[in-house]
């Protein structure tokens, strides 16, 4: 009886050990929130871009511009500086914002200064090589009306294994005609992270 129990116990343990040894893959929806280490993750990037773009599109500057100029404003993304404690991937953050802005249909986006280099090179090449009716001439770019600039900063409060991480994202929309800041947006994210005090 006891030997049977011992064998059963051993088999159970082996089963547990074996399952712990295999790699597990679980598919998640991109909208699902899963915070693992407390650092900036895709959920943060998505939350910030959605909220801030909703905010910027709902303000009066848009109506004033379309009223005056009778066309949609063109926005270019300038420098968004990372003044935080983490090497945050600014590219995914900027891409999220661009996507929401363009898809709203109220704003026209123009290529940023880095993207323009490749485009201008291609246009210059077309000038030389493409046929007359399919060529895109130089000097026909749509000038931007507004520039979006911003910063991401953090404040950390650490004591032993406990940490409060505070992120503040500040964005400004600056008119390229007269340097006015037509919109200032701010989003704060706060996380409380507790680390383990022992490991197995």
């Amino acid at each position: 009886m006891i030997t049977v129990l011992k064998r059963l116990g051993l088999l159970l343990m082996m089963g547990v050990v074996l399952t712990a040894c295999a790699t597990k893959v679980e598919r998640m929806s991109p909208d699902e929130v899963k915070d693992i280490s407390g650092r900036w993750n895709d959920t943060d990037s998505r939350l910030v871009s959605e909220e801030m773009i909703d905010d910027v599109l709902a303000r009066t500057w848009l109506g004033e511009f379309t009223g005056q100029r009778k066309r949609d404003p063109a926005v270019i993304v300038g420098e968004i500086r990372n003044l935080s404690h983490e090497h945050i991937n600014m590219q995914t953050f900027v891409s999220d914002m661009e996507r929401v802005l363009i898809n709203s249909g109220k704003v026209v986006f123009v290529a940023s200064s880095e993207e323009r280099k490749d485009v201008r090179q291609e246009r210059g090449d077309q000038d030389l090589n493409a046929s007359d009716d399919t060529r895109n001439a130089m000097g026909q770019e749509r000038g931007a009306d507004f520039m979006l600039k911003g910063t991401i900063s953090t404040i950390l409060d650490t004591e032993g294994k406990k940490q409060v991480r505070f992120y503040q994202i500040d964005l400004n929309l600056i008119s390229l005609a007269d340097n006015r800041k037509v919109w200032v947006g701010q989003k704060k994210i706060k996380k409380y992270v507790t680390g383990p005090s022992v490991r197995p």
């Binding site: 280490s37 950390l156 383990p196």
Partner: protein, 441 residues
């Protein structure tokens, strides 16, 4: 019992530092790519993963692959944090068998150096904003370190100050320079590096810029400079900052010695000690062709810091080693009492084989750091670095072409210098205070 025997077989007969001689020789020969291959050939267990990543990061840095080096450091940093947390099973293993079973998370100063090296990588790539992120992480990590632990706060804060000033963040630069000055002054006698003179000029300049007049007057008195001196050596000029990494950090070796246990018995234990590796290049001069020159100043002595840290940890290491010896003795006595002489002999042999010192340390860190600062009028320059040894004999020359200097900004150059003489181990004054020393190697 079987566990002990199996572990004895698994550990092999070499400590960690025994296996990296070939890698060191290749580094000294100026072949970091081959050294990286040699590092990869060494078996890397989970416990040594952090050390593998840190060494890999330095080798990639020396080979000029700065993004690769940063990738290795970004992998190492969360692991260092993770292994800083005590593991119940590893502690049990350490008390029963040896310290090598514990995952190596890095000494406190090594954790700061992970950030310093990442900052140096970003500086070499010219990415000041990313360097700034590392500086903030460095600052946070320094505040986490317990008091009286040797840490490179002086150099780290000095570097931070340079970066903040370069970005035009004068307030943060002032705080960082102040912190650096305090840290250099507060270094214990064991590993003191005097505050660099250029730091004095920085304090005067930034205090004058920020209109901190009381502080400016105080600094003038303390540094014994003229009354109207506001450190303004950089008016209308830019600056080239050359950071030189010289030599290699000391190597931990093992010494078998006898220590008296609490019950008065003499037990044989294996303890680590450091072997010095004196850097050859200790003087550097940076000059512009046909123009001004600047000498490098010592800003960091990693060897002394490593020694101070080992001294601080030694009581705990000795206590664990003695505890292990007592446990092993008890096990031997028990098997002998049970009449099983063969088993007793096996345990005895296994105990001897597994009593190895933990000789893991980040040995590819440079032994000393120097900074040379050359103020230059805006323009394009060709610079020459002359490296000399302590006697003034020229070791080598490196040239940097097309260095563009703009007014009010700093241009950073990161350089390393290791020669074959740097990896030759030298005897050291510092040994663990023990009786009856017999060297194993």
């Amino acid at each position: 019992m079987g566990v002990v025997a199996a572990l004895a077989a698994l550990q092999g007969c070499a400590t960690y530092s025994d296996g990296i001689g070939r890698m060191d020789a290749l580094i000294a020969a100026g072949q970091p790519a081959d050294a990286l291959k040699s590092l990869g050939e060494q078996s890397s267990s989970r416990q040594d993963e952090v050390l593998y990543l840190l060494n890999k990061a330095v080798l990639l840095h020396q080979a000029g692959d700065y993004p690769g080096s940063n990738a290795a450091l970004e992998q190492a940093k969360p692991l260092m944090e993770k292994y800083a947390v005590l593991s119940v099973s590893e502690q049990a293993g350490a008390l029963a068998v040896n310290d090598i079973l514990r995952a190596y998370g890095g000494a406190h100063y090594e954790r700061i150096y992970a950030h310093i090296f990442a900052a140096l990588n970003y500086l070499a790539l010219g990415k000041l904003d990313d360097t700034r992120v590392e500086v903030l992480q460095m600052d946070d990590a320094l505040t986490q370190i317990p008091k009286d632990t040797p840490a490179p706060s002086g150099f780290a804060r000095y570097l931070s100050g340079l970066i903040f000033e370069s970005l035009g963040e004068w307030d943060d630069a002032m705080i960082a320079y102040r912190g650096a000055y305090e840290a250099y002054r507060a270094y214990p006698a064991g590993y003191s590096v005097p505050p660099p003179e250029s730091l004095q000029r920085d304090l005067l300049r930034v205090a004058a810029h920020q209109d901190l007049n009381d502080e400016l007057i105080r600094y003038r008195q303390v540094f014994a400079v003229k009354e109207n001196d506001s450190g303004d050596d950089l008016r209308g000029k830019g600056e080239v900052v050359l950071i030189l990494e010289s030599g290699l950090a000391p190597l931990k070796r093992e010494i078998i010695t006898g220590v008296y246990a609490a019950d008065g018995r003499l037990v044989t234990v294996a303890l680590p000690y450091y072997q010095s590796r004196v850097p050859t290049v200790t003087r550097a001069t940076l000059s512009a062709t046909g123009g001004p020159a600047a000498d490098g100043e010592l800003v960091e002595d990693v060897e002394r810091m490593a020694l101070a840290e080992l001294e601080r940890e030694m009581p705990a290491i000795v206590a664990r080693a003695v505890g292990r010896a007592v446990v092993k003795n008890k096990t031997i006595k028990q098997s002998e009492r049970q009449g099983n002489d063969a088993l007793g002999l096996l345990v005895n042999v296994a105990g001897l084989l597994t009593e190895r010192a933990d000789t893991r340390s980040w040995s590819t860190l440079p032994s000393r750091m120097y900074i040379a600062r050359l103020p230059l009028a805006p323009g394009r320059y060709r610079l020459t670095l002359e490296a000399r040894d302590a006697a003034g004999v020229m070791v080598g020359v490196r040239e940097y072409n097309d260095i563009i200097v703009n007014s009010g900004t700093k241009r950073f150059i990161v350089e390393h210098w290791v020669v074959p003489a740097d990896v030759v181990p030298r005897p050291l004054a510092h040994q663990p205070a023990v009786i009856d020393q017999r060297r194993r190697n």
